[in-house]
Symmetry: C2
Subunit: 242 residues, 2 copies
Amino acid sequence: MIYVIGIGSGEKDSMTFEAWAALERCDVILGYRKYIELIRNYFPGKTFREYSMREEVKRCEYALKISRENPEKIIGLISSGDSGIYGMAGLILELADGDSQIEIIPGVSASSICASILGAPLMNDYVVLSLSDLLTSWEIIERRIRAACLGDFVICVFNPVSKSPKRRENFRRACEIILEYKTPDTPCGFVRNGGRDGESCEIMTLSEIADYELDMFCTLIIGNSQSRIINGKFVTRRGYDM
Amino acid sequence: MIYVIGIGSGEKDSMTFEAWAALERCDVILGYRKYIELIRNYFPGKTFREYSMREEVKRCEYALKISRENPEKIIGLISSGDSGIYGMAGLILELADGDSQIEIIPGVSASSICASILGAPLMNDYVVLSLSDLLTSWEIIERRIRAACLGDFVICVFNPVSKSPKRRENFRRACEIILEYKTPDTPCGFVRNGGRDGESCEIMTLSEIADYELDMFCTLIIGNSQSRIINGKFVTRRGYDM
């Protein structure tokens, strides 16, 4: 049995009872090094296997291999946030054959965690978009940014930048494109390490966002025409009569 | 103190430890009748106040009133899924003044629950869209459907239909619009009562979806050009080299 587990922020508080119980049952837990570090101390004595970024296929193949060779073993494959959103759920289902026993255990997504810290920016229709061009071409990303703006969606951006200078340039370009459609005073906010040690957040306007030093542990939310700053919180109005 | 709590599916398994602990601390818990029913038995002896649909403003005003009059009281305002996604988080922040103590506690969204049951359809950029025209005009909804298609986004549809015949007609119209952009064999799936008693799900193609009898407890996911049915599961490919 392979559990694909979303661990939320990585703090116990942010996990579901189902995710916790699945982790407790695992014989071995696989994941990206940083996420293993977040949960290791909750499960002393358990076997963990840490992987680097970009070793996603390797992780899944290893999980499938031990599952085939030891059908009685319980294997956990962890993702931060929700395992089904830019997590490991899709890849393992792509690589598995019909006999593999796989259960996807969802978690609180980084977008939900980020939104709750900033206020309530996702109260209206929204887009979730990754700016990583490792697996998606910049042409497709740009087309999606424009479409998201045409629909006046709130935009939740995963992986806004990485260590690469090219990605930082892409982020600047993304901000410029969005400014073609949304007004400069559109509320925006980002959260770094949401819901865990080192959490920080900032609220600013769209015209200011390109000047902030984001990193790959940031989730960014860009408002729509109904977004406001209310008592210091970033809120997108749903449209209730009040 | 007012906690705005996302209860996931409503089953304990689907709640976070943080949500559970907040519910335990509450003196009174307010919510839509159906969601109160889901959690009432977990907290015997606690005071609950049930509301009808469309009494969202009333609920928030009551919570703010008792919080002002009894600052020592702990009030819980619950939403299914994540409280920050079409839930109560935005409205209470709109109605509150700067002195109100409000904490938003996110939960596992209906989109994440639905995706995990169907497979992994949200592995690539996606849109979350409500078809309810109570608070958003059909013109805006239609513009958003078209934008979501132009961006080749996966589309997660909340409130696909309601009891009203007009909404059923809107749903048919939405399917027709999406068929102008996406191929008829695009994978789709919906889940009813995801993660709780009475759960059911179906996977079908876009050309078939309008014939299904959905209701307001269904969450629907419509694939993009990278979505496939793999071993009976609905998966959107992320684009890894394999």
